[in-house]
């Protein structure tokens, strides 16, 4: 179920995640140029798209699904969907937001399929996620010296992923988009389609739910 997880996360953490890949900020010339070339089906444009956004798409999908193998499959599907649908992208919002919306929808679809599969096997989905979480996450604590600290960091990261996976999928998406991927409120509204008035309260409730689940690890 899991692909080789070794070395799949990098110690630089959030700073590096937010620096990697697509430029952030407004609708930048890079995005516009890439979209134009994708719509013209210019050679190498698709490859550039994948190389630019693979870290962010894969990160989002992995945190939503909690399983590397599923994340690889879904992330591939996301890029192929983008290629198929690029003609319909009108440039009304940021390209990255559109891409994330496709990724979020693909995650929802896959989660439903996984839940259905688990139900047919009469096996709780949690156990699928546990297996994934236990084997997928390489050490968080390469940042911290010493094998004990590394082991503690790994356990914490596994716990976070496990508890994240146990959240309702809408709550999980908000946490992933805001607190892990660092999207702005406006970007999250565009990705989720939530009404503006409900985002902050839903985000707060999602955080409270995760905080309760992580209480043993917070002390």
């Amino acid at each position: 179920m899991t692909g080789g997880a070794s070395g799949a996360t990098t110690p630089e953490g959030a700073d590096q995640r937010k620096a990697v890949g697509a430029p952030r900020g407004g609708r930048d010339p890079f995005e516009r140029s890439l979209v134009r070339r994708l719509q013209r089906q210019a050679p190498r444009a698709f490859e550039e798209l994948v190389r630019t956004y693979q870290h962010r798409v894969f990160g989002l999908v992995y945190r939503m699904l909690g399983d590397r193998h599923e994340a690889e499959d879904v992330a591939q599907e996301v890029f192929l969907s983008v290629f198929r649908a690029i003609g319909r992208y009108r440039g009304d919002g940021r390209f990255q937001t559109w891409l994330f919306r496709i990724a979020a929808n693909a995650c929802r679809t896959r989660l439903r399929q996984l839940a259905s599969r688990a139900a047919h096997r009469a096996e709780p989905l949690d156990s699928v996620e546990d297996v994934a979480g236990a084997s997928a996450n390489p050490p968080v604590a390469a940042q911290v010296a010493g094998p004990e600290a590394a082991a503690a960091g790994r356990r914490l990261e596994e716990a976070i992923q496990r508890e994240l996976s146990a959240l309702d999928e809408d709550q999980r998406l908000l946490i992933v988009l805001r607190d892990i991927e660092g999207l702005s409120y406006q970007e999250i509204l565009a990705v989720t389609g939530l009404p503006e008035g409900t985002l902050k309260s839903r985000l707060h409730r999602a955080r409270l739910a995760l905080k309760e689940r992580l209480r043993p690890y917070l002390s």
């Binding site: 996360t9 698709f46 992330a75 591939q76 309260s201 955080r207």
Partner: protein
């Protein structure tokens, strides 16, 4: 004498707390929230817990895709494009052919019908032919013979 009513501030709402921990409030709004937190130890503890949790979550390491991820996606796309020809979908390509086929069938049918009509004997009202002129062997009425030039 009753005690003067103590005004307990309304609890902070969810939107305010979310925006406060995200640093999305204006300095004035943030100061107002902090003043409320100063009077509410429970709310203060909750905000502190939230911040601790958010620090841990946001410090999760970046998840890297496999090193050959991009190559694999690009290969998959090439395979997909190879099996699906570029340009309009096959259904659109076949549409003019379908229309053309129908037109040809119609034309053939019309020509056939016209040919059939030409060959079929006329079945309409029989045209009355004038009676043949018989030789005037009989005497004309009045006993005169017709004058033959």
């Amino acid at each position: 004498m009753s005690d003067p009513p103590t005004s307990t501030p309304a609890p902070l709402d969810e939107d305010q707390i979310a925006a406060y921990v995200d640093g999305e409030l204006s300095p004035e709004e943030a100061a107002a929230v902090e003043a409320r937190l100063a009077d509410d130890p429970d709310a203060r503890a909750e905000v502190e817990d939230l911040r601790r949790m958010l620090r841990i979550v946001s410090d999760l390491p970046a998840v890297e895709p496999p090193p050959d991820f991009a190559d694999r996606v690009v290969r998959k796309l090439r395979r997909a494009r190879a099996t699906r020809p570029e340009g309009p979908p096959l259904a659109l390509l076949s549409l003019p052919f379908q229309v053309l086929s129908i037109l040809v069938i119609l034309v053939v049918a019309v020509l056939y019908m016209m040919a059939e009509l030409d060959e079929r004997p006329v079945s309409g009202p029989v045209r009355e032919t004038p009676p043949a002129v018989r030789p005037a062997t009989d005497a004309a009425p009045g006993g005169q013979r017709p004058v033959v030039p």
